[in-house]
């Protein structure tokens, strides 16, 4: 059955699989009972694999480009050496790029080209794909020539970078080889007519991109050492300012202050800290700029430029102040309990402050007419927000865990609170989720498979340390309290966490990666981007990122099988249940770590 896109306006979570393919994406919703089997699903997924010669061509080209850039950026003794260029009666010395610089310049140039004219690039790429198939071995020959050019460049540049002085012939050879590598790679990835059409539609693009590449080289070659030195001066002054402001802040609360700016030391007679360079707030400010900049880029059509750029320096200043508050609070807390201050508050408070500030600035960009193009009053409430049932339970669970970690960093005695908060959030949204599950063995089998994959791919951290802390923690409780804690731990692992995580990753993210209007996407709609993206993000949430990504793929497979998110939840619950049984049977508490 095919329906129009607009007809699927309501939340499709509980609907039966419907064939909706408005933009040519392929769908992994089974049409016949035979496809319900794992073999049928595997065959179907393989059928989506790169049949297209274009895909093979792009994958190979991209891999070899990455290999070339990686190989080119292997560390060498120095950034650049001097090229000796003979003039009439003199010799001109020019900076000559080593491999490190070539890779950086090429990567900058390519990134700039895509950012500058992504729209035309995409249109022309689609046009090429629709009007022709990629020809036989022509592109492979270009790819081979690219590999030879990179190899030749590597052999030429590396030895001379050690000597320090090169001749004009070396400069000429390296230039020709660099241009050859770029040109042959371009022709390997796309036909010449693609590049000609792109250049024809935007005549300024390639000169501008070339200028950016040259600028990147000049700035890098001439100013990198200067910037590195200046950066150290800058971080030093930031460190000083944080130190002095923390001192003034601390004086507001106590007269018992120890302050030795020459040793970066601040505190009280009971508890003092050494404010090192990383503690000066660089990381938070840098991470904020990166994440907020990415947000500005993705939502640039809904925000007012350049007004909204003002939020970048505002955010940096806010984070700088919050870091000072964090340090003052750390010292005051340290007077009460040094271990909680160092191991709990020090680790978690930075993240909580960072999240609060970043979220407040994102909200500001949406709520103030000075920054938002959309009507701020048009926002839905948290109750009618379509994403709330999918995201709020998991956010509530993680936030509770983070706050609890501030006070109980070795053994999370407050784990039952996490279960109650998560369970409460799920209960609150349960009517809007309204899951229906038809019994089947397949999700159970997939759950066991996920447990096996997790066990194989898991890389153990400090097993002995975690075992000792959880054993000590349970030993400090009465038998009744310990049994209650274990009961909540199992309930959290088998029921609450699987439902909350599957709602977020297989209910929301996997559909959001198909369409911005995620609620119109039927569960089980397959695209490679959503399948891989949601699985990788699921892996990133877990400390065991490789094992997490693999089991995320298995849970996605459970979803695709019948287009039912309940199947993914059952698989997840079974995997966690088997793991819990292993933990309880063997007392290997670290497996819950």
């Amino acid at each position: 059955m095919t329906i129009a896109r607009g007809a699927a306006e309501k939340n499709c979570l509980t609907e039966e699989p419907i064939s909706v393919a408005p933009r040519g994406e392929r769908q992994l919703v089974p049409k016949a009972r035979a496809e319900y089997t794992a073999f049928g699903m595997a065959s179907r997924m393989i059928s989506l694999a790169p049949k297209s010669p274009w895909l093979v061509r792009w994958v190979l080209s991209s891999l070899l480009l990455l290999a070339g850039l990686f190989f080119s950026s292997m560390p060498v003794s120095r950034f650049f050496c001097w090229a000796e260029v003979p003039l009439h009666n003199d010799v001109l010395y020019l900076p000559f790029p080593t491999r490190f610089f070539l890779a950086a310049v090429i990567a900058t140039t390519m990134t700039a080209a895509l950012f500058l004219d992504w729209g035309t690039f995409r249109e022309e790429a689609r046009r090429i794909v629709t009007e022709s198939t990629t020809s036989g071995a022509g592109w492979a020959v270009w790819l081979l020539l690219y590999v030879l050019a990179v190899a030749g460049l590597s052999r030429l540049v590396d030895p001379i970078s050690r000597n320090g002085i090169v001749t004009a012939s070396h400069v000429l050879s390296a230039t020709i080889l660099t241009l050859s590598a770029v040109a042959t790679w371009c022709l390997a990835a796309m036909p010449a007519r693609f590049w000609l059409r792109w250049a024809g539609r935007n005549p300024w693009l390639f000169p501008t991109v070339a200028a950016i590449g040259v600028l990147a080289y000049v700035v890098g070659a001439h100013y990198a050492p200067l910037v590195a030195g200046t950066l150290a001066t800058l971080t030093d002054s930031l460190e000083r300012s944080v130190l002095w402001m923390s001192f003034f802040g601390l004086r507001l609360f106590t007269k018992d202050v120890i302050f030795e700016p020459e040793h970066n030391l601040i505190g009280t007679h009971n508890f003092s800290v050494d404010i090192d360079r990383p503690c000066a707030g660089w990381e938070g400010i840098g991470l904020f700029c990166t994440l907020f900049g990415t947000y500005l880029w993705f939502y640039r059509r809904e925000l007012r430029f350049p007004h909204v750029l003002a939020l970048l320096p505002i955010g940096a200043v806010v984070l700088w102040y919050l870091n000072i508050i964090r340090i003052v609070a750390l010292i005051l807390l340290g007077n009460w309990s040094a271990s909680i201050a160092i191991q709990g508050f020090h680790s978690v408070a930075g993240w909580l402050f960072f999240n609060a500030a970043t979220l407040a600035l994102v909200a500001t960009s949406r709520r103030m007419r000075a920054f938002a193009k959309t009507d701020p009053s048009s926002g839905t409430s948290i109750h009618s927000n379509p994403a709330s049932p999918f995201l709020v339970p998991l956010i509530a669970i993680i936030l509770t865990a983070m706050i609890a970690r501030m006070f109980f960093y070795d053994f999370d005695v407050l784990y039952p609170l996490r279960v109650l908060v998560g369970g409460g959030a799920l209960w609150f949204y349960w009517r809007r989720i309204s899951l229906r599950w038809r019994p089947s063995w397949a999700p159970v089998v997939l759950g066991v498979l996920a447990f096996v994959a997790w066990s194989i791919l898991r890389r153990g951290p400090d097993a002995g340390g975690i075992n000792a802390s959880i054993s000590a923690g349970l030993g400090s409780l009465s038998p009744g309290e310990a049994a209650t804690w274990i009961m909540f731990r199992v309930a959290g692992a088998v029921m609450i966490a699987p439902i909350a995580e599957e709602l977020a990753f297989r209910g929301y993210i996997i559909r959001k990666l198909v369409s911005a209007e995620f609620e119109t996407v039927v569960p089980g709609r397959f695209t490679w981007v959503s399948f891989l993206g949601s699985s990788i993000l699921f892996g990133a949430l877990h400390a065991q990122w490789l094992a997490g990504t693999a089991v995320g793929m298995i849970f996605a497979f459970a979803l695709y099988r019948r287009g039912s998110i309940a199947d993914a939840m059952v698989s997840h619950g079974v995997a966690n249940g088997v793991l819990a049984a292993q933990v309880l049977a063997t007392r290997q508490w670290f497996l819950w770590g």
Partner: protein, 67 residues
């Protein structure tokens, strides 16, 4: 299609600046990570970014234009 240059250049400049800044931050991060900084514990990083990402997504959904 007419190239929209001023905005594109502006955005490119922002992106290149951010890439540079990200590089600096990541260099610090890397340095810190190798000294076993507690706030860079992988579980905590995953939790922190998940809470932030989820909350930002909630906000974005709240103000999303609907057809």
């Amino acid at each position: 299609m007419k190239p929209r240059f001023p905005k594109a250049v502006l955005l490119t400049a922002i992106c290149l600046f951010l890439l540079g800044f990200a590089g600096t931050a990541l260099a610090h991060w890397h340095h810190h990570h190798h000294h076993r900084a507690p706030e860079l514990d992988p579980t905590l990083v995953g939790s922190g970014l998940a809470v932030l990402g989820g909350s930002v997504l909630l906000l974005i959904e709240r103000y999303r234009r609907r057809r």
